[in-house]
Structure formats: structure tokens, C-alpha cells
Symmetry: C6
Subunit: 267 residues, 6 copies
């Protein structure tokens, strides 16, 4: 079942970055394994951020391996925060920016946020925003400093700020000393159980129930390990094989799972 | 008991950075363990800085691990220095600045300070002001040089200057040759005794006296080690669990202490 | 036989970068060994990119050792995609550009592409576009960041984007974290079978059928390993030996194959 | 006894940097142990620099560990050189300068000096002027080059130049090839004898004669090692303990000496 | 005998860089050992570059140790290419250029070349043009990228381009990935045979026939190894010893050969 | 005896850098040990550079340890070259220059030189001109490139160029690939014989003949090793000890020799 699907999307906030958030949730939120629990934990922190009795600033980090679905879950939390001001900091809009322009842009967004009583800022792929790359390693010091300053300083008195970030490289953030700026860190896992695979196959509607049974049968002896985004991507290849014989489709898909390292047969 | 609490805040100085200092003391100063002793030692140096018989410049460094409460204590000393000129050097105001702009800004503040007979400058997270980051490692040479020059040179004759700084990385400052510019270094410790935990729980008013007894009972067999800021942060999560059953709240909080590594049960 | 030859070139798209693509396919596509299979696989992904049921963005990477024919195959796929907007990102046009100018140019092309409902962008030698060089190693961080942002973000809703790239250094892209941005990676192999050598010799028309038999006879005992571009290049040397005795031409060519490490005689 | 004390300061030169030099000698020159010998050796080189029979340029380096009193002694030599032109090159005035601005400023001072028949230039903390820092290590190449050029080239014919520098890192200057530009190097030692400690305590007038006897008694069994500036700094803490009982003052001071590593009791 | 001598120089092309090329061939081309063979091989590639049946772009690299005569041979090939457009890319004209100015200049020359139907570009010391230096190592990334782009892209259809380059560091070009952009690489060797030494001595006319016999006699037992440019340079020293006794001249020259490591006597 | 002394200085050239050259020869050229031989060898190369039969460009390098007297000897050769155009490239005039300004200045001087039929350029401390420093190591790539280009390219036809350089770090120039641009390298040694010490003492006139005998007597058992510049510098200290007793002067000087490592007594 779907926690959130694009079709019946009730816009919860009147902020201007609603479409930007929706882009991260292209395929909705399929309710496999730990999904609901993660969402509830996240929304608890959102609630804490709103409360007038708590600290004036709460920074939440979602971390997960590539394709785990981290960005979609984080965007979902932001969308459902019911905060009147929600802003997405988007690397796409800062392509080719020098470090200082980048800092001014990000700083500007925090300044804008401070004007609203309750405001939420969403930053996807924090290490990428800082230009981190493992060859070197390299990163943009000015942007790192800006992040540190912005995540560590309190909004003006009477204002409350919630910052939701994602990362693929938790250890890098730790080494850079950024991790201690976060109030909490939530880990987004890979799919590792057969029944979760079945759930995603069913929800995706790319295969018929019979085909799903056949696939599950094939992969029942062995282990699975895959991010939800990757699994949904592989299912896309099936969508263009419309006319093809059901048997062949199942075989093709099982091959794909094995080739891409998603399924490892038992020895 | 509270040494300092935001509610009965008597503004001691007429300088313009009073609000900036208060922001660092969001939760007041709870008088646990060594707090009063640290404050007295600090105020003794403040007194020495004022004295006309001593050197014209006194630089004080407070150092402590993340969340130890270093910034709050340092800000408290500055607030209570009774110096007519108090200025906070704030990294948040220099986001995206090039090294030289940063230097000019800091230099300007020292020049302004020299105009007052007695002046106090507060710099939080010195290594962060210099853009220090352990990957590389990197730091901004121009700012380091500026710091060194400013901390080492005497104000014009007839003027007295007190500089209060904080750091999370004492060893880095030592390696950079900055430590010898300080007249004294004060270490801010973590909470390591059960009775100090109890004191903070009581002062925070997030739990009822019975709940506190229950918590203390749970953690009595084992060791605790935590910064006061972190502990107060964890108590925030309880504040949004208002309606919840007292038993559950205690259990949730004890779990949290264990998960976050604050409490290590005895084997 | 030829899959594609410059002579009977039916321009499939009305986009403006048709000539730029043709330049990469100077010698047509000779249908040796796995060529047809590669082309079909590639066109399948092109079809998937067009499909309205799939993700709004599909990034395809062709990788192969130098002279394998990677660029020609990738250009062929782009040319045959039937996409109304096809744009080639050309390093030749950005010689001497600073990193940020390069980023703005590339960004501009993506922005233009977003205006068309279906658009295809072709980027040859991705690592070269990022100024990668193994001594250092060096690369242009801003361009890498731009690539990452552009390959990872979805076009505006209702638009579909296909990006076709080539690389000679798959492992570098993996290390830089760029590989996970691609939906699929296709490997272009070297020629390693005698019969494929014969096929290319025949199609190239640089040798007479008798000469080809003689060459194949010479190299029958041993192994061959060469990129199609290199092999066609060596045949060029024969074209200027027009008047020369057939025997000598064969000897010269066989020597060349051995000197250049294309042919290794059996011990 | 005092070789030089601020109170009976007879201004020896009419140059404009007299006050700048005096700032380095805040506490006068206490005549402990090797002080008079060092001063005489230094003044001998000053005399050599004035002599018309010798080389037209003489560069003198005073080196010592932090707080040894190096800057004060060097400033004293410059003040007493009786040169009509004396100029202090001050890092405080160049905070935030780019390398080239720094070079131009320093160069300008040498050019000005060349206009006077006899001129003396004082540069404190040479390695700091070059932005040297051990993490990296880093330094400003342009400034190093400028230093090398300026220390190595002769003034115009008929002019004589004396350059007095100090450093805390002699070995770094050696490694950078700067040491060979100096005509002579004078080492400023730490206080290592009980009787020199007594002398400084007496001259400082922070303790009564009885208190001094008590202190000396306490530290008689063990070794002492401290820079004169550090020792004078520790005495400052006593100055604010005016009303306090003599016994306590002695105990507090002895503790301080031990805590700060100045005094190591014999085992 | 001379393949080419400055005296009877018939200008073969009307291009404007004829004098620039001649400068590289100051001493003509003495026809020792492999010289004629190298020249013929080179001219064969020049012919291939002109042929309308071959690829539209041919890049030729001459590589040799310092003083091997690499530049002279490459310049000779360019001069004798009979191409209507010949352009020399000269590092002397780009002294002090920033990387991007250098790129624009080189790019401009390629653009100009594309306007002629047949054009030849001569680049001496490719690694030096890219600012390569082994300490670091360092090189100019932008120029390397430009080289790669320019050597790899085809001229507009209907145009043919020949690029002749030299290098002293083949392995560096290989490591930088530039070598695969060349159609062919020609190695220029050192003189290693006694008879080639004699030939050069004879052609140089710096020694009388009797002196040459004497020299050859001296060096007959042992090995020789020297670049032609170095050998001609050593002969220059003899030219200023005009009046000197023949015996002494021979002795002086033999000493020189041994001192400079050209001649190693047999043990 | 003196080969050259400032007093009877007959200006040999009308070029404008005569005074600049003289500054390097402050103390004349004392004719100790190998001096005359070095000067003759150098002047032979100067003669070769003038000869119309030889190569149009000759680059001479004098190398020696610090204080060996390298700069003075090189300047002496330039002064006595009788070239109508002589120009000194002086790092003092380029203090604080960015790399490219430096290059343009140096380039300009070569361009000016090309206008004269015979021209001589003097560059002292080549590695310093390139900003070389062993910590890093660092050097200015643009200047290195400029040096390489300028030393390697021939002047316009009909012009002859002589470049005289000095260095303290021959091995660095070799590593940077600059050494092969020089036609010849001349090594300037340290004084290592007692009789050469005596010669310099005599010529310097800082000691009376009796004092010299006494000094030589003292140092007769042991080894000496010192640059001529250093030795003359030590003698300067004696010049200000005018009134002092002869015995003390000798003792003081012998001590100095030993302290500075010039004289090592035999064990
Ligand atoms: N339970 C789920 N959790 C997360 N995403 C889900 C879930 N169910 C479906 N999805 C869909 O899966 C996709 C996850 O993509 P997302 O960009 O969040 O992955 P990611 O881990 O951020 O990948 P990347 O490595 O590219 O950053 C989205 O399209 C989302 O709509
Ligand atoms: N005794 C105390 N000492 C310090 N802080 C206290 C104390 N009692 C309560 N506090 C509160 O604890 C918080 C300490 O936060 P502070 O910013 O000083 O910590 P920090 O060690 O500087 O943390 P960071 O690692 O983020 O720099 C403040 O809100 C302060 O009001
Ligand atoms: N089956 C084929 N596959 C690819 N190229 C072919 C094939 N048959 C002929 N060719 C021709 O071979 C040449 C391949 O050149 P291409 O530039 O694609 O090689 P590459 O691997 O990209 O080389 P480089 O290492 O220079 O990037 C083209 O001229 C193309 O027309
Ligand atoms: N004999 C002495 N020698 C040097 N300084 C003395 C002496 N007696 C008293 N002083 C005083 O001691 C102080 C020495 O400070 P100074 O700045 O010279 O030390 P320093 O070694 O340069 O320290 P830093 O490590 O900060 O550079 C001055 O205030 C000076 O007046
Ligand atoms: N057979 C020959 N091959 C090459 N050069 C020759 C030959 N005979 C005579 N020469 C002369 O020798 C000189 C070779 O110099 P050239 O600059 O080519 O050497 P190089 O190897 O490029 O040296 P460098 O290491 O300086 O680059 C030229 O003056 C040329 O006229
Ligand atoms: N025979 C000699 N050779 C060289 N210099 C001599 C000789 N006799 C006397 N001198 C004097 O010795 C000094 C040598 O100084 P010079 O600057 O040449 O030394 P250097 O080796 O270049 O030193 P540095 O290490 O500072 O570069 C000059 O003043 C020169 O006049
Ligand atoms: Mg993501
Ligand atoms: Mg803090
Ligand atoms: Mg290619
Ligand atoms: Mg000092
Ligand atoms: Mg050459
Ligand atoms: Mg010198």
C-alpha cells in the first residue's frame, strides 16, 4: 500500500517549494518494511521542532546508501511538516557558482526563513552541496563553513527553525565536524527481505500477479539487497516490453536482478 | 539551582552585543558540579584584565568537547565582565566572506575596541572562525595570521583589552602556535557523576520528581558521560510527550540515554 | 556489411547537431561481432527513455578502451533516437574556458533541452569534459558538481530527457560517485577474433580480396586485440601505397600489425 | 637592577617609530643573568653596522623560544642604535593584506630607508610576517622572496643599512634558505637558575621581600625553566590579590609555577 | 653529406612561419646513420596526411632525449610538407601568459588552419607548452585539455590537418593520455657509432682532416653516446681556438668529449 | 693580489647596468687559488659567444655554495665581456610582482637585448628568481616556463646573445630540466687551503702582518673550509675593534673562525 502517491496529492503547505519537493517523490512512498516507522519517527521530530517549549532550532539528517530512497523520505517529511515556510536548497540552481555566491544564496534562504515564525529548510545531498568528492579529497571550505555557521546558530528570538538534510556519506560529515550540529540522525535501509521485494513489485504494477509469483519463486533461494529507487528503475525496463511473452519477461527481469547484483543465489 | 537564568536577567552592560551573548545562554547556567568554580576562576581573570597594574592585554581561552557548554560559560563571563564595550565576533555574519574581508571585519572590531578604555571581545569557536577543517587539513591562513597579530599586539597606551575565546580543538590551536598568545586556558568538563545528572534533570523541569527518581534508579548501575547541552537537548524530546504515561516516558528517556552513548550500563 | 555508412545517410532528426554527430562516425558503422547486439540494446534504452510510463530522465553511458569505437556507437544511438531535440556538448567549443564558464555553457544546454518535450544530450569523453587527468590526479570540481547535479535532477514535469555519454575511464567515474547517476552502462569491446579482423579489412576496401587472404593467412597463428578505430587507422597507411607491389603491401601491413601490438604471434 | 625601564626613558632617536618600539618593552629590561652580555654583543654589531669600513648592509637575527624576551631585547637594540632612521615593520598593520600588498608595503619601507645615510629596520617574528604555519606547512612565497631579496641586496652606494629581526623558529628560516642572509644570529635563553628567578621577583615588586624568601624556599629543591615574559605574566595574577593573606599568596604563586610547568620539584 | 643546409635553402612553402622553422635547423641536417630513413618515414606520413582517401586529421609525434636533434628533424618535415598553410606554435610568444590566454592563442591557430584546405601545425616541446615540470609534478590543466581537444577533433568536412609535435618526455604524454591522440610516433636516437661521430666531425668543418683522424684514433677504444646538437655545440668551442696548435686542439677536444660523458673509454 | 678592485675600476662597457654589476663585487676579486683559472675559463666562453662562427646563443651557469663568491665572479665576467648591451635582471626590482608581471619584465629585457647585435644578460640566483623554496617544494611555474623558453630560443638572425646566470642549487635546476639549456656550467669552490686563507687575510688589510702570522699559526693544525664572502664578512668584525690589543684581536678572530665552523682543529 501507498503512504503517499502522486495521484491523490493534497498540497499541505502554501509555501512556494511544493513542486520542488514533489519531484523527489516521483513514485510515491511505497509502504514496505520499516517505511511507516521511519516516517513516524521523522514526524515526531517535526512535532518537536514546532513545540514552543523546545530549543529554537532542530536539524534532522536522513542518511542512506545510493538509491535507498533517502531523498524521497526526507522530502515527504518536509512536505508533511505543515510549516508555513518551506524552502528547498537545490544544487541544480547553483551550477557553476563560485563558492562565495553559493554561500550568499544559501545564507539568503536562511535569512528569509528567519522572517517566518515557523520555517523549514530542505537540503538534499549535503556533501554534494559542499562540492565533496573523494578524489583528493576535495570540498568547498567556504560552503562547509557556511553550513556549520547556519546549522549552529539560533534563529532570532521568537522564531523556530527546522532543517531537514540528506546525505549518502555520513562518515564524511562526521569527519568534517558537521554531525554534531544535528539533533538527530535517521538511517534509511536497503530492502533485504523477499516479502518487501514482493510488496514493491505489487505496488509498481509493472508485472501481473502471476509474473510476480514466478519472479518470487525464482529468487526464493538466495538473498536480496537493493535500494527502493534502483528496484523501481529496473521495473521501468519491463514497462517497454509490453507485447512480450510473460515467460520471457519474467526471465529477463530475473536475469537483470542477478546481473545488477540485486539478487545473489544461494550456493 | 541556577547561577544565571534568562527570566531574571539583569542586563549588566550597556554595550550593543548583549542580545548576541544571551543567545549562547538559551537555557541559563545550571549550577552542576564544577560550574561555580569555573565561573569564579574566569571572573578572577576578568578582574585581572581590568586592573591598571597588569599587562594591557589579557586573552582567555575556554576549551571543551562538543556540547560541554563551553560557549555558554564564556558568554556568561563576557556578560558579567562589566566592561563598557563588549563585542561578539560572529561567524554567522561572515558567511561566504573571502579571507581578506573576514580579516578586515575582525580587525575593524579590534580597532573599535581600542577606542574604549576597557573593552572585551568575545570570539566563539576560534578554529571555526579560521575555517579549520580536519580533512586536508585546511584553514584560512590570512585569518590565522590576523588572529595571531591581533591576540599578540598590545592596545594603544592607556587602553586595556580582554579577549574571551572558545575552542573545541585545543590541540589544533597549539599546533598552529596560537596557544601561547593566551594568558590562561580554562577546561570545561563533561558531566560524569550521577548526582550532576540528577541536578540537571531537576532544574530542566521536563520530568516530574517521581520520574527523575525512576530514571536515576535505572541508571544507577553504570557510568554517565555527557555534555550539558546534549543532556538538555535529549530532555527536549520528552517535552513533546506530554500526554504520555509516566512509565513509558521514563523508559523512552532511559533508552535514549543508552542509544546516544550517554549512559553505559555496568557489565 | 555496414549498419550505417556516411554515403546513404538519411538525416533522422531536424535538430541542429546532426553534423556534429556525423563527425564521430567518419567511417560508418561496420557490422563486426557484437556491434548489432550493442546497437539494439542501446536503442532499447532509447525507446525506454521515450516511453511516458517510465522515469522522466534516463542516462546511458557507453564505456570502452581508447579506439574501441565508443564515440561512434554512442553518436549513432543519438542520431537514431528520433528525438526532436538533440544537442552535442563539445569540449572543442570550450577550449580555455574557466570552470564556471564551462558549467554555465553546459547548464544552458540542459535548460534549452528542458524546453522540448523529448530531448537528447550527447556528451563525449565525460572525464575529459571534467578536465580529468591522472597526474595529480586532477579534475575540475565545479564541472564535476555540475555534471552530478544535471544528471541527477529530473526535467520539469511533462518533459523527458535522454543523456548519452561516453567514457574511457569507467573506474574514475565510479570513484567520483558519478556512476550511480546512470540508468545503464554499456561496454564496447575490442576486436579479438580473426573473423572480425577479416570483416573490417573487407569493408574498409583498402586491400584487395587476395591481399586480405594473404594477411589473414599470416596472422592465423596468434592472437589479435585491437580497437576498430585503430585498425581502420592502420589501413590508411596502405591507401597511400597505391602503386606498390601487392606482396610488399601485405608484408608492410602485417609488420605494422605486429609492431603496434595488434597481432601477437603464437609461441 | 634595570638596564632599561619605561619610567626614565630618554628617547635616543628622533625617528618616528619610537613608540612602536617601546610597546615591545612594556616591562623594561630586567638585568638577569646573561642579559647585559647579550645587549653588549648586540650593540657591538650595531656599532659595526655604523662603521664606514665595513659592508654596507648588516642583518642581525635574535632568536628564542616563546616568551624568552626576544622581541623586547631586539627592540631595545634598535632603540639604542642611535640611527637617525628607525622603522618598525608591524604585522598588525598588515592584517588581511594579500601577499603582494604586503610585499609592496615592506619594499616601500626599505626604499624609504635607503634615502637616509644610516637606517635601521626592525622586523618582529619574521616567520609570522611570512605567514608561516606548521600545518601544511604553509607560508607566503611572495613575502619570503621579498624578504630574501631585501635582506640580500645592498643599499645604494654611500648608504648603510641595519636590519634587526626576531624569530621563534630558527630552523624554519634555515630550511627556507633565509639564515645565510644574516650576518649574525643571537640566541635569547630561558631563565634556568634560582637566583635569576629571585632577581626577577625582586624587580617586579609584586611580592614583598618576605614573600619572595618564602617562594624561593619552596622552589629551592627542583629545577626552573621559564621565559622572562611568562614569569612576569604569572606575577600579574598576584597583583589583583591585594588584600589576601601573605601565606596564601605565596602558596597560590608556588602552585601556579608548578601547574604551568615553570617549576619541576626534584624527585 | 647534408640532406639540408641553410645555404642552399629553397623556400618550399609560402606560409608565414618559414623563418620560424628555419631557426630550428640552424646547422642544417647532417645525414648521419638513421637520418635519411627517419626523414623518409616522416615524409611518408606527410603524404598520407595530404591524401584525400585517409582520415581528415593526422598527428605525428617525434620524440627524443635532449639534444638528439628532434626539433630540427620535425621542423624539416614541416618545411618540406609543401602544405600551403604552415604555422609554428611558439612558447616564446606566450611567455607569462595565463593558462586561458595560452589556450585561446593555440585555439585561434587551429581555427585559422581550418580555413585552409591543407594545413600543417608545428608544436615544439609539447610538454613544455603545457608547463610540465617534474617537481610536483605540475602542468597546466587547461592547456592539456585544450591539446587533447584540438588533437582529437576533426577539422570541418573537406579540410585536412597535419599536426607535427616533438617531445622529450614521451612517458609523461602517455601518462596524461595524450599519446593515443597521435597517429604515429617516431623516435630520434643518439649517435652511438664511431663512424657517425666521424661523419658529423667532417661535415662540421671545425677540425682539419688530420685532426679528425687523430680524434677518432683517440676515441677508438671505448663507446660514444651523444645527441647531434650537443656534439655540434662542443665543436663550437674549437672554432674560437683558431691560432692554437693542432695537437693541443685535438687533446682539448678529446678531453671535452670525456668530461661531458660523450666518450667512455673501455676498461 | 687583486684581479679587480673597486678603486681602479675602468668602466669597460657603456651599457646602463654597470653600477648594478659593481654592487656584486663590493670587495673586488682577490686572486686566491683557482680564481684566475675560473676567470679565464669564463672569459673563453665570453669570447666564444662573440664569435660569428658559433651558435647564436650561449648560456653560461656559475654554481657554488652560499658565500662562495659566485655572484661576484659572474658579475666580473659580465662586466668584462665588452658587450655593448649588458643588462642585469634583478629580483629586488620585482619584489611583490605576480608571476606574470615577472615574466613580462624578464621577457621585455630579452626583447630589448635582441635589438643589439651583441648582448649580455646577467641573472643572479636563478632559483630565487623562480621563487624556488625547498619547503613544499615551491616555485613559480610561469617563471620557470619563461626561463626555459628564453634560454632555449635563438635570437633573431644576425644577433648574438650571451646569458650569464648563477645558482646555489644546481641539482634543482637539473631536476627542473633547465640545466640542458646551458652550454656550460662552471663550479665556484670554497677556500680549503691554509695558504688561500693567508692570501685573503693579507689582501683584506683588516689585520697587521704580525697578527696574520699569529692567526695562521693558531689554525695551522686543522682544516679550513669557507666561502670567500663569509671570510671577508668575519674580518669586518675586526675592523670595529680598532683600539683593541693585538693579542686579543687575534684570539677573538680565531675563536670566531672556530665558532662559525670555518676552522676545525685536528684531533
Ligand atoms: N518507501 C519508500 N521510500 C523511499 N522512496 C520510495 C519509497 N517507495 C517508493 N519510493 C520512490 O523511490 C524513489 C526513491 O528515490 P530517491 O531519490 O529518494 O532515492 P535516493 O536514495 O535519494 O537516491 P540517490 O542515490 O539518487 O540520491 C522515489 O521516486 C520515491 O517516490
Ligand atoms: N552549567 C552550565 N554550563 C554551560 N551551559 C549550561 C550550563 N547549564 C545550562 N547550560 C545551557 O547549556 C547550553 C550549552 O550550550 P553551549 O552552546 O554553550 O554548548 P557548547 O559546548 O558550546 O556546544 P557546541 O559543541 O555546540 O559548541 C546552553 O543553552 C546553556 O544555557
Ligand atoms: N562497429 C563499429 N563501431 C564503432 N566504430 C566503428 C565501427 N565500424 C567502423 N567504425 C568507425 O571507427 C571509428 C571509431 O572511432 P571512435 O572515435 O568512435 O573511437 P573511440 O573509441 O571513441 O576512440 P577514442 O579513443 O579516440 O575516443 C569511427 O570512424 C567509426 O566510423
Ligand atoms: N632581560 C629581559 N629580557 C627581555 N625582556 C625582558 C627582560 N626583562 C624584562 N623584560 C620584559 O619581558 C617582556 C618580554 O616580552 P617579549 O615580547 O620580548 O617576549 P617574547 O619572547 O618576544 O615573547 P613572544 O613569545 O610573545 O614573542 C617585555 O615586556 C619586557 O619589557
Ligand atoms: N641529422 C640531424 N638531425 C637533427 N639535427 C641535426 C642533424 N644534423 C645537424 N643537425 C643540427 O643539430 C641541431 C639539432 O638541434 P635541435 O634543436 O633539433 O635538438 P633537440 O634534440 O631538439 O635539442 P633540445 O634538447 O634543445 O630540444 C640543429 O641545429 C640542426 O641543424
Ligand atoms: N676571488 C673572489 N671570488 C669571488 N668573490 C670575491 C673574490 N675575492 C673577493 N671577493 C668578494 O667576495 C664577495 C663575494 O660575494 P658574492 O655575493 O659573490 O658571494 P656569493 O657566493 O654570491 O654569496 P651569496 O651566498 O650571498 O649569494 C664580493 O664582495 C667580492 O667582491
Ligand atoms: Mg538522494
Ligand atoms: Mg560552542
Ligand atoms: Mg572516443
Ligand atoms: Mg616576540
Ligand atoms: Mg628540441
Ligand atoms: Mg650570490
Amino acid at each position: 500500500d501507498f503512504i503517499y502517491s502522486l495521484e491523490n496529492d493534497i498540497k499541505p503547505s502554501l509555501g512556494m517549494n511544493d513542486e520542488a519537493l514533489s519531484k523527489f517523490i516521483e513514485r510515491g512512498i511505497i509502504n514496505w518494511g520499516p517505511t511507516r516507522e521511519l516516517v513516524e519517527k521523522g514526524l515526531m521530530f517535526v512535532k518537536q521542532a514546532r513545540s514552543p517549549e523546545t530549543s529554537s532550532r532542530l536539524c534532522l539528517l536522513l542518511e542512506g546508501a545510493p538509491t535507498a530512497g533517502t531523498s524521497a523520505l526526507a522530502a515527504y517529511l518536509a512536505k508533511n511538516s505543515d510549516f508555513p515556510f518551506i524552502k528547498v536548497i537545490n544544487s541544480r540552481e547553483m551550477v557553476g557558482f563560485m563558492e562565495s555566491s553559493k554561500c550568499f544564496r544559501i545564507n539568503k534562504i536562511f535569512d528569509d526563513a528567519y522572517r517566518s515564525e515557523l520555517s523549514c529548510i530542505f537540503m538534499n545531498d549535503l556533501e554534494h552541496l559542499m562540492g565533496y568528492s573523494p578524489i583528493g579529497p576535495r570540498y568547498q571550505s567556504l560552503v562547509l563553513d557556511a553550513m556549520y555557521s547556519l546549522l549552529s546558530s539560533s534563529p532570532p528570538s521568537g522564531r523556530k527553525l527546522l532543517v531537514i538534510c540528506t546525505t549518502k556519506r555520513r562518515s564524511v560529515l562526521a569527519e568534517l565536524g558537521l554531525l554534531s550540529a544535528f539533533t538527530a540522525v535517521i538511517r534509511v535501509p536497503y530492502i533485504a527481505h523477499q516479502k518487501d521485494i514482493r510488496l514493491v513489485l505489487e505496488e509498481s504494477q509493472a508485472l501481473s500477479p502471476e509474473e510476480i509469483d514466478a519472479v518470487m519463486n525464482h529468487i526464493s533461494h538466495g538473498s536480496v539487497f537493493v535500494g527502493v529507487k534502483k528496484l523501481l528503475g529496473l521495473l521501468d525496463s519491463l514497462r517497454v516490453m509490453k507485447g512480450v511473452d510473460s515467460h520471457k519477461r519474467v526471465a529477463a527481469f530475473v536475469n537483470l536482478l542477478e546481473d545488477e547484483g540485486v539478487f545473489t543465489p544461494q550456493l
